[in-house]
């Protein structure tokens, strides 16, 4: 019956696979149809939704700027983050911070530059009052979002190689804040206006290695799961030992009490599992004599407990029986007979099969 069930399941699963293949084929067919995107373009809502499909678009940082004293702060949710970060801009010497604005990456996109490496935004920093004209100003950009590997890349479209590294100093600051210190020469390669005029326009953004982060975090988090579950395993093993001892002490005490009451001819229970059901069964029997008749469900429980006790006693005595020991010569040790009672006779084999099926049913969580 089980084999038949499995065969049915397997055929059913194959049909399921065929249907999924059909869906996938439909997809491929549709994707190859040139008129399909045009059909979407006809709908205004569709345009919005299509744009929303792109994860890059959804995760585009939208910085909001605030100015406090000489510091301008950008608050934004970077790519691959769900919480906002704050990036502070400040000119420490050689000029005055005039303004900081966000810039779309598309304007600076080049084939050799991967947007994924720029998790926060690109910024246009304007510095004025650079005196004397043509001298250096020092820009400080700080955030707890930066790591020791963060670089600050500069974009200057007037240069043949528009993207280059600013070679900034990455310094650890208070708390977990890191500070990127960049020296910018008025009219130099970092200055997008290209003129030594006492004003600097500095375009660029912080860069972190996307693949380095993705692979690094992969290993750390995979082994993190092992760590978490190992800690849980250790906790459970420890509690298992404690509970086993408590149970053993309890059963020892109860067995001592029983032998004191009834003398030495009382049969010991085959295992600790039997004790509680026996107690419950006895308690149930007593209460049923005194109180109203039990509802059907609790009667069923009693029958089940009685059946379980009968089965256990049967197996227990059968194990002691010399005829059974002679039958099971292939399994000479007691331990192996306990582990494999299925070898003893057809009665216990059937019983075990039935019990295992019932347990299997109790784990049926089809509501998932």
């Amino acid at each position: 019956m089980i084999i038949q069930h499995k065969a049915t399941k397997s055929i059913a699963s194959r049909r399921w696979l065929i249907c999924l293949s059909l869906i996938v084929s439909t997809f491929v067919f549709l994707l190859l149809q040139p008129e399909l995107p045009a059909a979407y373009a006809s709908s205004k809502d569709a345009k919005k939704s299509s744009a929303a499909v792109s994860g890059q678009e959804l995760e585009k940082p939208k910085p909001v700027f605030t100015k406090i004293d000489e510091t301008i702060s950008a608050k934004l949710i970077p790519r691959a983050k769900s919480t906002s970060v704050i990036i502070d801009f400040n000119v420490s010497k050689g000029g005055k911070l005039i303004d900081v604005k966000g810039m779309d990456f598309e304007k600076a996109a080049r084939p050799e530059v991967d947007i994924k490496n720029y998790k926060s935004s690109l910024f246009i920093v304007e510095i004025g009052d650079v005196l004397p004209v043509g001298s250096d100003a020092t820009l400080s950009i700080s955030s707890d979002f930066f790591s020791s590997g963060t670089e600050y890349r500069v974009f200057n479209e007037k240069l043949p190689q528009p993207w280059f590294n600013s070679e900034c100093h990455n310094v650890a600051s208070k708390g977990r804040v890191r500070e990127l210190i960049i020296s910018i020469k008025d009219g130099g390669p970092f200055d997008s206006d290209g003129e030594a005029n006492g004003s600097i326009t500095f375009v660029g953004g912080p860069r972190d290695s996307f693949w380095g982060y993705a692979l690094g975090t992969l290993f750390i988090r995979f082994f993190g799961i092992f760590l978490v579950l190992s800690v849980l395993m250790a906790g459970m093993m420890l509690s298992g030992v404690i509970f086993s001892r408590i149970e053993a002490k309890k059963s020892q005490k109860e067995s001592d009490d029983t032998s004191n009451l009834s003398g030495s001819d009382v049969i010991e229970p085959a295992s600790a599992e039997l004790e509680e059901p026996q107690e419950e069964a006895v308690a149930g029997a007593e209460s049923s004599q005194e109180e109203e008749p039990q509802p059907f469900e609790s009667q069923v429980d009693d029958y089940e407990i009685a059946a379980a006790i009968a089965t256990a006693l049967h197996l227990h005595f059968q194990r002691r029986s010399p005829s059974v020991a002679a039958e099971s010569q292939d399994f000479p040790t007691t331990a192996s007979r306990i582990i494999c009672p299925v070898q003893t006779n057809t009665w216990s084999n059937d019983g075990r099969t039935q019990m295992m099926r019932d347990r299997q049913m109790s784990f049926n969580r089809t509501n998932r």
Binding site: K9, A12, S13, W16, C19, I23, T26, F27, L30, L31, E35, A39, Y40, S42, S43, D45, A46, S49, S50, A52, V53, G55, E59, R79, A80, K81, S82, T217, R221, F222, I225, F226, L227, V228, L229, S230, V231, L232, M233, G235, M236, M237, S239, G240, F243, I246, E247, S271, E276, I338, I339, V342, M356, R359, Q360, F363, R365, T366, N367, R368
Partner: protein, 382 residues
């Protein structure tokens, strides 16, 4: 009113108030897909509890200009949008489902053999392999994480993580997760046979020890404490899961436990299915990403099965009492399907080898492992 004015009025009504002129090829395809899933659910009874509302959700929202998933002019959400917003977007329904699952779960096999927790961890290998794999195909980190979790084979966890990180992929991810969960009996056996020898499949494991009710009662508290101290981000899922289990094991709130297992679970399943189905509008769903998700979802399941079995092989190098490597495949948390598959493969090798209860350990560990993986991903983006 002249005839021309009457005709113009009729024309206006037909154009602006009926759906027919607005229907697109994409919507027709989605209607077909919706009907296909309804057929699967009703005629073939594949995961009908979820595929029926999902199928009908797809069917409903792909009729043009229907006021179901949008917002009114005043910004009030329309009917299914309300279910989606408060149920899925606010992360309520997956957590309530976890409450029900906790109330349904007997952790006895896992408590009796805690070593199987490591198998649950090993079976998360596919989650991370897929995460890297899809990054090569232009997915963002958040999208990659939400696709990776499909291999954890846990529907509510997949929905929870996807709703949090990449809501635009919710429909495809949920559909892939539930579809492949239904296909576990087809996907896993060839990998299991490939990765084990006949002798290994015949390994008999010792009868699990007795677990006292007191031990089962304390398990949700111990597990909750340890997991939440290490991964606080998983608190909504794990907290509800362990609350459900505590209600079950305490035995003093049978009414609450029954409600969580049955009525509440059924109610939220209706809203979850409908909301997930309703996210699959043609203009969002018909692109190359869902296709990739289905392909990588399958790969994910295969690698997760591989990861579970290989973990048992590695553990067997150090254990005196060897474990049957077939139970490694149950490390994916498709409860109890994966455990049944391990059990039936064991029976094929030796008809007297009952692996079901042994496989339930890694199966339950898989639930905790996939929730832990989801927590890791959530923490990564915080």
């Amino acid at each position: 009113m002249s005839w021309s004015q009457v005709l113009e009025l009729i024309q206006n009504i037909l154009i602006s108030q009926t759906g027919l002129p607005h229907i697109t090829w994409g919507q027709l395809v989605m209607l077909f897909i919706g009907l296909l899933f309804l057929y699967m659910a009703i005629a073939k009874e594949y995961e009908p509890l979820l595929l029926l509302p999902i199928g009908f959700g797809i069917f409903l929202v792909n009729f043009p200009i229907t006021p179901l998933m949008g917002f009114t002019e005043h910004g009030t959400p329309e009917l299914i949008r309300v279910f989606y917003k408060y149920g899925v977007e606010w992360e309520v329904i997956p957590c309530v489902i976890f409450l029900g699952l906790g109330a349904m779960t007997d952790f006895g096999p896992l408590i009796a053999n805690p070593k199987t927790l490591l198998i649950g961890a090993g079976a998360q290998l596919g989650v991370f392999v897929t995460y890297i794999g899809v990054l090569f195909f232009g997915f963002t980190l958040k999208e990659a994480a939400s696709v990776g979790i499909i291999g954890g084979a846990d529907g509510p966890t997949t929905i929870y993580l996807t709703a949090k990180l990449a809501p635009h992929l919710l429909g495809a991810n949920a559909l892939a997760a539930y579809s492949y969960m239904a296909m576990v009996p087809l996907i896993q056996p060839p990998i299991m046979r490939l990765m084990t020898t006949d002798a290994q499949r015949k390994i008999k494991m010792r009868q699990l020890r007795y677990v006292s009710p007191r031990e089962k009662l304390l398990f949700p508290l111990i597990a909750c404490t340890l997991i939440l101290l290490l991964i606080p981000a998983v608190a909504p899922l794990m907290g509800m899961f362990m609350l459900g289990n505590l209600m079950r094991e305490s035995g003093v709130v049978k009414r609450l436990s029954d409600t969580a297992q049955n009525s509440l679970m059924n109610i939220v399943t209706i809203f979850l299915g409908l909301s997930v189905g309703a996210t699959m509008q043609a203009e969002v769903f018909l692109n190359w990403k869902p296709l990739m998700i289905f392909v990588f979802g399958l790969l994910d399941f295969i690698v997760c099965t591989f990861g579970g079995i290989i973990t048992v092989h590695i553990m067997n190098m150090f254990l005196k009492e060897k474990m049957n490597p077939l139970i490694g495949s149950a490390g994916v948390s498709a409860v109890p399907m994966a455990a049944r598959v391990a059990h039936s493969e064991g029976l094929k090798a030796d008809p007297s080898n009952w692996l079901l209860m042994h496989a339930m350990g890694p199966n339950l560990a898989g639930v905790i492992g996939s929730a832990a993986a989801a927590g890791m991903f959530i923490a990564m983006f915080q």
